[in-house]
Amino acid sequence: METRVWATVWSVGLAGLLVAVVLVSATIGPVSVALPAVAKATLNAVGVPTGVSLTSGAVALFGATVSVPVPDLSYTYLFSLPVESTDETIVRGIRLPRIVLGATVGFALAAAGTVMQGFFRNPMADPSIIGVSSGAAVGAVATIALSVSGPFSIQAAAFVGAVVTAFAVYLIATEGGRTPVATLLLAGVAIQTFLGAVVSYLLLQAGESLEQALYWLMGRLHNAAWSDVAVTAPVALACVFVLGAYTRDLNALLLGEEDAHTLGIEVERTKRVLLAVSSVVTAAAVAVAGAIGFVGLVVPHMMRLLVGPDHRVLLPTSAIAGAAFLVATDTVARAGPVEVPVGIVTAALGAPFFLYLLRTREVHSL
């Protein structure tokens, strides 16, 4: 009970921080918008899905065009506060989609990173440790280099590449129904190296689309639209909810697999669920935002120092903190005279901070 209260207090506090970061972020840009206008426009953007219909989208695949059904949600908006229309357009049409997508991606990556670090009992584990990001990169860069177009084609290819890679690594590391964590780690490293070679080759073949491919690899949130949010957010929320149901199991796994078994955890089944779900949530995030590094590594460490190793508290707080962290870093990324991919900012800020933690606190003991 006490744990639940502790988790709730931290989560609510961090959620407050997230809202504040979102609102401040929405005021920043080439045109600055006053905070009250941002708040009103943001409230106006809060909608609940009330219906769904299918529209058809065209996918161009190697010259041929195929029609695929795309679900289209209709929303009812709760507020209709008076805001100047240019402010509303800037905040609601341009900045909020990007901010909300950033929050979703940060939420997903930090949650997956927390789970992976606990799962591997390794402080250097991050969401892409079993090759998810590399797989996504192959899918995305192949789509860009081979000029496949259509709604969500890059995202879909990245997502499929990520999931297929994670599954392949899992199969390679599994023998006789058991998946030793060390084998999984090494198989992940080997596959990442191999896929890195594939991406390099594809980049050589990319020609004119090289720049687009490079931007994707650096990880960025620009050109975010509400449609990206609508696809990614439900996946992220559902996956983190499932991971949340396994926090007690993760705690027991931290004691070692045999101890976990004697505490009633079906170790192999739990490992499969955790791997599958965290791979899907990472794939969903990487598919829309590219390979954004360090969020899934640094944020769980920061939160572990603050709230301790108990995943029942650590997972929700890390996820929310990850959302706030990515919104803040993306604001930095787009605030300058020249926009830089947010992946550069997260790495540039995250790595020194991580080194600072390493030197001052005992991050090495996870």
Partner: protein, 444 residues
């Protein structure tokens, strides 16, 4: 008249107070009834073989542990003790044979169901994370938690476990900050919070000092006696195992060599075979349980030494000389003395006398004969005047100082042969060698 039955039931059902008392006791009472579902033993290992790959680790092992029984699993490193424990708690599935706990076949149970029957205290209790003690103990309730539902008995079970293991006072400290002994108790508390009828312990005392070893095993003993748990512990220290366990099972090379009460199982023979070493097994003078003294290999001291003295230090002296390869004779020694017991096991010849009896001529002659045949004589201080008289006229006498280091100064005339230096039981052999090398000095 339908519900108000007068008579003997009143006493059983009781009034308000009685009912409250029943409620309070019911968890334990339920646990106990759950531990004895049928007549069979609670833990029944039947013909279990386990191998890792092609390497067989356990071959056709059968063992049972009853409720309220503490069985010690002893044997050399690599004998398969840990493997046997893992096949009982379900971590390993046996290649053949079956393990039944409370009449359930463990290998067919889910981890969750198995963990409600068997709790395990692992050998390695290091926790690399900053969990608090209470967090760790609370993890023992994992088998009772639903994925989305809590465990209403958790608080009470955790409190009891913390109380029982005396870990409640550092409940909020991080386990990483505890000493090995404290951490051991915390992990034991975690196992208790599981509220299982069977408790397995893998080398619970391996990394503990003597005090914590005894405290840990006393606690397990107490749990077995008061809560009727069935406990099976792999224990390194044979003496400690003999002291606390009802029965011992000697495991060597994947085979059960012997199972039974410590006195019956811990024989020089069994220990010698299991551990591939020579050993003497004697009753511990304090606890009366068997105590094992292993010798790495018998030495090659080609000597005959006669030992005069009584008590623990004499026993020690005899065992040191014997393990060095010397032929030891002893006497005269009271028959009930610990030295007499050691001598029976290790000495070539011993002259014993009834306790408190005066030294008679026959025994004195026998002792003098042995002394005459010996290369050297060892006197373990303090000795009584009649015994001292035995060595009065001979050469090469070494004195082992009394436990407090003192050497009695009352030398009677003619005790010319004492060497100037005195030794301890551990250094007696060196003393004997010096005495034989050096010419005897008269009164120094």
């Amino acid at each position: 008249m339908t519900s108000d039955l007068p008579g003997p039931f009143d006493a059983l059902v009781g009034g308000e107070d009685g009912a409250a008392g029943d409620d309070r006791l019911s968890p334990t009472a339920l646990d106990r009834s759950a531990t004895t579902p049928t007549d069979g033993p609670l833990v029944a290992v039947d013909g279990v073989s386990v191998g890792y790959g092609d390497v067989g680790v356990l071959a056709d092992v059968s063992l049972s542990v009853d409720s309220g029984e503490f069985v010690g699993l002893v044997g050399p490193n690599g004998a398969g003790k840990t493997t046997l424990l893992k096949s009982i708690n379900g971590v390993l599935a046996p290649d053949s044979g079956s393990v039944r706990v409370a009449d359930e076949t463990v290998s067919t149970l889910s981890a969750r169901a198995a963990s409600r029957l068997v709790a395990t205290v692992p050998q390695d209790t290091t926790v690399a994370f900053e969990f608090t003690v209470e967090d760790i103990v609370e993890m023992g309730r994992t088998p009772y938690h639903g994925r989305f539902s809590g465990d209403s008995d958790a608080g009470e079970a955790v409190e009891r476990a913390l109380e029982r293991t005396e870990t409640a006072r550092f409940r909020d400290r991080s386990v990483a900050s505890l000493s090995g002994g404290e951490r051991q108790r915390v992990v034991l508390a975690r196992a208790l919070a599981q509220e299982t009828p069977a408790l397995l312990l893998d080398e619970p005392t391996a990394s503990l000092d003597v005090n914590h070893q005894v405290r840990t095993l006393e606690l397990v003993r107490d749990l077995v006696d008061t809560e009727g748990k069935a406990a099976l512990a792999a224990i390194h220290d044979l003496d400690v195992a003999a002291r606390f366990c009802d029965r011992l099972a000697v495991l060597a090379d994947g085979d059960l060599l012997a199972v039974g009460p410590p006195e019956a199982v811990l024989t020089a023979d069994h220990v010698g075979t299991a551990f591939d070493t020579d050993a003497a097994v004697l009753p511990n003078p304090v606890t009366g349980t068997p105590a094992v003294t292993p010798f790495s290999e018998p030495g090659d001291a080609d000597l005959t030494v006669h030992v005069v003295g009584t008590g623990q230090r004499t026993a020690r002296t005899v065992s040191v000389l014997s393990s060095a390869g010397a032929t030891v004779t002893v006497g005269v020694v009271p028959s009930g003395d610990v030295a007499a017991a050691t001598a029976r096991e290790l000495a070539a010849e011993t002259v014993t006398a009834p306790a408190f009896a005066a030294l008679d001529a026959e025994r004195e002659t026998a002792a003098r004969d042995l002394l005459a045949a010996a290369d050297a004589a060892v006197v373990v201080e303090p000795v009584a005047a009649p015994l001292r008289a035995l060595v009065r006229d001979r050469d090469a006498v070494v004195r082992v100082a009394a436990a407090d280091g003192s050497v009695p100064a009352d030398r009677q005339s003619g005790e010319r042969s004492y060497h100037s230096d005195t030794v301890t039981p551990e250094t007696v052999l060196a003393g004997v060698r010096r005495a034989l090398d050096r010419p005897v000095e008269a009164d120094d």
